[in-house]
């Protein structure tokens, strides 16, 4: 009886020690779920979800504080992917956070720009170059289309232009063919 108890106790101590060691040795820094959610979000850093950037939104989703349908740039497909990842039901985009738009880039109308640098300070990805009292311009390939530069511009010289389809970015359409009907 006592020997059985001792054996069990010894087992518990050894396993406990092993688990305790593993918890310290193989500790996961940060939350891997946040990384995965952040990987799905489009990284426009636009703040339309109500959080200051994609990562804070990902953290809020992981904590269960935010819903998965608050990201307009991610659109339907992003919501579907988040739903798959989190094992939830996909739902339509929440209207209060905005609508899904065609991908576009900011363009500075150069003859109106006064060189105030306000848009440069607003751009979350440093995609606007320029200096005080010098013309500013947007690096189109780096622009995420977040529209955060529109509001601070005092002369409204920034416009959003949808990205035109080019031969390189063109996609083959989903084949649509008439399915054979059985002759009556």
């Amino acid at each position: 009886m006592i020997s059985a108890l001792l054996v069990m106790a010894l087992g518990a101590v050894i396993l406990g020690a092993a688990l305790g060691y593993a918890a310290v040795r193989f500790r996961v820094e940060g939350d891997p779920l946040v990384e995965k959610i952040d990987g799905i979000l489009p990284q426009t850093q636009c703040g339309q979800c109500g959080f200051p950037g994609c990562r804070p939104y990902a953290e809020a989703i992981a904590r269960g504080e935010a819903d998965i349908n608050q990201c307009p740039p991610g659109g339907e497909e992003g919501i579907k992917k988040l739903a798959d990842l989190l094992g939830r039901e996909a739902k339509p985009l929440s209207g209060e956070h905005g609508i899904e738009k065609a991908k576009s880039v900011a363009v500075i109308v150069e003859n109106l720009c006064i060189g105030c640098t306000l848009c440069i300070q607003a751009c979350p990805v440093d995609a606007i170059v320029g200096a005080a009292k010098q013309m500013h311009t947007v690096i189109a390939t780096q622009c995420t289309g977040c529209e955060l530069c529109l509001e601070p511009c005092p002369v409204d010289c920034i416009v959003m232009e949808p990205i035109a389809e080019s031969v390189e970015s063109w996609k083959w359409q989903y084949p649509v063919f008439e399915i054979a009907r059985r002759s009556a």
Binding site: Q142, K171, A180
Partner: protein, 517 residues
């Protein structure tokens, strides 16, 4: 001379329809046709980054002048096809299924067709890197149809030499005879080009594979090898079966090497060039002529199918006009019936990828019969020359499960069309694969753009943090400095007071002395 040949799985034997365009010799388009009103030369004619324009509207150019400079390493130059005046550098309709436009240099010919100064490239005394640059600047790209920049392929590989250099003269696609005619009429250039490639890649042997339905080409090429006494070059007739002209398939047939998924043929010491490309490399290095024209076949619904040497930028309908398109013709297909693309208009220009203009009509290519459900009969898997499971790819592409499609090696599909050709349910399988591939590419581009954006955003946050910290230390340092200065001033004022006191004491002293005396 019997060489052991190997076999690739699958493949089909469609009607070849090649005889019609073999009757007449290659005609130089310039010699037999009126000068086109304008040449529309697209800047982006090869795989890789689009070249940047080097000319402006109003400038005069000479034939062979560089008009598009390569951007980066995976890019190839573009040259003026004839002498004349640059009318515009603008967006024009591309010979591409999308019907979209891209940047083109429009040249109004002056009729003189005057060459720019050019000289042979002393490639034997140049380093491999310099030869590659010369080929890039001569705009040499693969003429088999994939238009991959050739300079990237002229590479002996990791082991420093190739075991086998394969020159692809198989030309398996129906209707197309441009390589066949070039081998018959210009064998010397091809053999010399192959010899240059042999020396550049240090290849131990060169095998020129030609399908055995071209006995004339095989005989002429063999005679040329003997006449030129080309060493280590062998002409090999390979069995006729579509797609024997696919690079991986021809390598398999000639060497028995199966290029595995995710590997390149150079990993096995094998590289493959088209016969037309070998000729173009000869022209570029031995004659110093950049690539400004190619041989193409006009076939299909025309009265007089034949081959032409055509400058890039020539409108396709100008070329077809020489062959007499029948009145019921309603489409141009660039390439053959198996892999070709329908052109958005008849006026689109001939480009480096145009190996054939196939004129079609409703009678010739009737609308495809209605698609029926897949019954998993497995015919497509038997026909697939890349050893894939086309029906699985079809299911996953149709259901938009792209990850699974990639797991089944969608990107090993060469879009040869064998599966769709044999499908008893008339499913346009390749259309589904093309759809899935372009969706996957778009997603990958989006993903990499998002990753860049994340990186830049995080960098910005870090920079703001750093700026704040730097400002704080700067302010702290300044505060300390001010304090020190104040303290010093305090000390300074004390010293002054002492001085004044001392002076006052001295004055008082002096006064006392005067009073005393």
């Amino acid at each position: 001379m019997s060489r052991r040949l190997f076999n690739f799985n699958g493949g089909v034997k469609p009607p070849y329809n090649k005889e019609a365009s073999l009757g007449e010799a290659i005609a130089d388009f310039f010699a037999v046709a009126p000068m086109p009103a304008e040449f529309v030369i697209p800047l982006h004619q090869s795989v890789g980054g689009p070249p940047h324009p080097l000319v402006k509207a109003g400038e005069t150019v000479k034939k062979g002048q560089l008009i598009g400079g390569p951007d980066g390493n995976v890019s190839s130059a573009v040259h003026a096809s004839t002498s004349g005046r640059v009318k515009a550098v603008e967006m024009r309709l591309m010979p591409h299924t999308s019907g979209l436009s891209a940047l083109c240099v429009v040249i109004e010919p002056d009729g003189k067709d005057e060459w720019i100064d050019h000289a042979p490239v002393p490639w034997r005394s140049m380093s491999p890197g310099e030869v590659r640059d010369a080929l890039r600047d001569a705009g040499v790209v693969g003429l088999g149809g994939a238009v991959f920049p050739s300079h990237l392929k002229v590479n002996p590989g990791k082991q420093g030499h190739l075991d086998t250099l394969v020159i692809n003269g198989a030309e398996c696609e129906p209707f197309i005879t441009c390589d066949d005619m070039q081998m018959r009429q210009r064998p010397d250039g091809i053999i010399k080009g192959a010899a240059i490639l042999r020396d550049l890649t240090q290849a131990k042997q060169v095998l020129i594979g030609i399908e055995d339905n071209k006995p004339e080409a095989v005989a002429i090429m063999r005679a040329a090898v003997d006449r030129l006494q080309a060493e280590r070059i062998e002409i090999v007739a390979v069995p006729t079966r579509y797609p024997a002209g696919g690079a991986k398939q021809l390598i398999r047939v000639l060497t028995g090497i199966e290029v595995a998924h995710g590997k390149r043929s150079t990993d096995y010491g094998v590289q493959c060039f088209n016969t037309g490309t070998a000729h173009a490399i000869h022209d570029a290095l031995e004659l110093g002529r950049p690539m400004i024209s190619r041989i193409l076949t006009v076939a299909g619904n025309v009265d007089r199918p034949r081959n032409f040497e055509v400058r890039f930028g020539t409108p396709m309908n100008d070329v077809v006009a020489l062959c007499g398109a029948r009145p019921d013709s309603d489409r141009y297909i660039m390439g053959g019936p198996m892999m070709g693309y329908r052109m958005p208009a008849e006026t689109v220009p001939v480009v480096k990828a145009t190996n054939c203009i196939l004129v079609g009509s409703k009678a010739m290519f009737p609308p495809p019969p209605p698609e029926m459900p897949c019954i998993r009969c497995g015919e497509c898997a038997k026909a697939c020359p890349s050893d894939l499971a086309p029906f699985e790819l079809f299911w996953f592409s149709r259901a938009k499960i792209f990850g699974k499609a990639q797991e089944y090696h969608l990107f090993d599909c060469i879009e040869c069309g064998c599966c769709a050709y044999v499908c008893p349910a008339n499913i346009p399988l390749v259309d589904y694969y093309r759809f899935a591939k372009s969706e996957i590419w778009a997603r990958e581009n989006e993903k990499s753009a998002a990753d860049t954006a994340r990186e830049r955003y995080e960098f910005r946050l870090a920079r703001e943090e750093r700026d704040k910290a730097e400002k704080a230390t700067r302010l702290a340092a300044k505060a300390a400095e001010t304090k020190a200065k104040l303290a010093e001033q305090q000390a300074g004022s004390d010293a002054k007071k002492d001085l004044i006191a001392a002076a006052a004491a001295r004055v008082a002293d002096a006064e006392n002395k005067t009073n005393a005396s």
